[in-house]
């Protein structure tokens, strides 16, 4: 099951806080930059859980096509998801995989025409990045409470992961 937001079967205790690391605090900097990143070198505490049963491949009926390039086979590959049109504009993510595990997600395109979009995106996209990375360590099938702005992100991420599988 490669889908990061919807994945896994293992067990984790009780009421937990998934991440000890702080999300990128995307004040002015991350909003104006075109790339919002999560993971990378700062994600070591997340990826420390190692290869998990939730990261085995799965089929997908998702209709979204994938466009993007894979790096040569090796420890780490980069896959770019489709640009997904949302009500507010296109959203596109790029995923770095270490083996079958997501180590980094960059949002390379997102709507930022209005102040409201920036307000939403500066918050929601880093949050979604962390959720996607965190969900695969916590073995979550699905998340309740993340809505709306997640649609383009989810689809682009899905297309990247479909392509990687």
């Amino acid at each position: 099951m490669r889908r990061a937001i919807v994945t896994g079967t293992a067990t984790v205790a009780g009421v937990i806080l998934l991440l000890s690391l702080k999300p990128h605090n995307s004040g002015a900097g991350a909003v104006s930059s075109k790339v919002i990143s999560s993971g990378g070198s700062s994600s070591s505490s997340v990826s420390a859980s190692g290869g998990s049963p939730g990261s085995s491949p799965s089929g997908s009926a998702a209709s979204s096509g994938a466009s993007g390039a894979s790096a040569p086979a090796g420890a780490s590959r980069t896959v770019t998801g489709s640009a997904i049109d949302t009500r507010y504009g296109p959203v596109q993510v790029r995923v770095v995989l270490d083996g079958k595990k997501i180590s980094r997600i960059d949002v390379i395109q997102y709507p930022d025409q209005s102040g409201r979009d920036q307000e939403i995106n500066s918050y929601a996209l880093p949050q979604l990045n962390q959720e996607a990375i965190a969900a695969q360590s916590a073995q979550i099938d699905v998340v309740s409470g993340a809505s709306y702005t997640s649609d383009g992100y989810t689809r682009s991420l899905q297309s990247a992961l479909d392509q990687a599988s």
Binding site: V15, Y123, I140, V143, Y148, R155, Q158
Partner: protein, 251 residues
């Protein structure tokens, strides 16, 4: 173990995701029917479409008996929900400030539950359907993370079980958007409210209503309803829950 079949569908201004753990020969066709059902519900009930039955009914261009028959049914469910929540749910959620007809508080959860019903009717006993942050599962166990409304990237809880419906109402991603039907102004006394039940249509509509109540009334209301458990997150990050909630938490 069979590979789960997954599908993501963009409809109703959000994304619906399907995971079928027990796919069979009829699953692909059932998924197509479920997705068609979602688009059809959107065409009839969307308040963003000027030509939907609900928009035309609201403008007085259609009478109820000329609408799709499900419109009358949905409005009846809205009235039931309003009665069950002491008027904290409304098919006119803008109150007197904006008395437009908008049964969306019922429609999305109902649409998700309908999708699950279609999959069940086609023989699936193991699937989940999520849309816009609300989830209906069939079979199980399923592990459902509840997003922390105040801490980006964190979950505040993980629930696990069989045949669960989980609905979260909150201000985190969209800002204050649930209106107190009594005032027409945004409800802000809670950061998020999650209800865990078994049937998403009702659970989701209740979550919307109960969110608007604020914490004290919300918890009292949920404690009187054996069908649901509640987890409330206050704007300062403290949590409150009904006595029965812990039995749903993943252990």
């Amino acid at each position: 173990m069979t590979t789960p079949l997954r599908h993501a569908e963009h409809v109703m201004g959000t994304v619906f995701s399907f995971t079928v753990r027990d796919p069979g020969p009829g699953t692909a066709a059932a998924l197509r029917r479920a997705v068609e059902r979602l688009h059809r519900i959107d065409r009839v009930f969307s308040t963003y479409r000027a030509d939907s039955d609900i928009s035309r009914l609201g403008r007085g261009e259609l009478t109820l008996d000329r609408c799709d028959p499900e419109v009358a049914e949905v409005l009846e469910r809205c009235r039931e929900t309003a009665a069950e929540t002491d008027g904290w749910f409304s098919e006119r959620p803008g109150g007197e400030l904006d008395p437009a007809l908008d049964p969306s508080g019922w429609v999305k959860g109902w649409a998700i539950e309908e999708s699950s019903r279609i999959l069940r009717a086609a023989g699936s006993a193991q699937h989940s359907v999520g849309g816009g942050g609300d989830v209906q599962t069939c079979g199980g166990p399923w592990r459902i993370g509840i997003a922390h409304p105040l801490r980006p990237g964190a979950l505040i809880a993980i629930v696990a079980g069989h045949d669960l419906a989980v609905a979260t109402s909150g201000t985190a991603e969209r800002g204050p958007h649930i209106l107190d039907p009594h005032t027409g102004r945004p409800a802000t006394a809670l950061a998020s409210l999650t209800l865990i039940g078994h049937h998403l249509a009702r659970t989701d509509a209740w979550a919307t209503a109960v969110f608007a109540m604020g914490p004290d009334r919300a918890l009292r209301w949920a404690a009187d309803r054996p069908e649901v458990e509640a987890l409330a997150v206050l704007p300062d990050g403290t949590t409150r829950h009904t006595a029965g909630l812990p039995r749903h938490l993943a252990g």
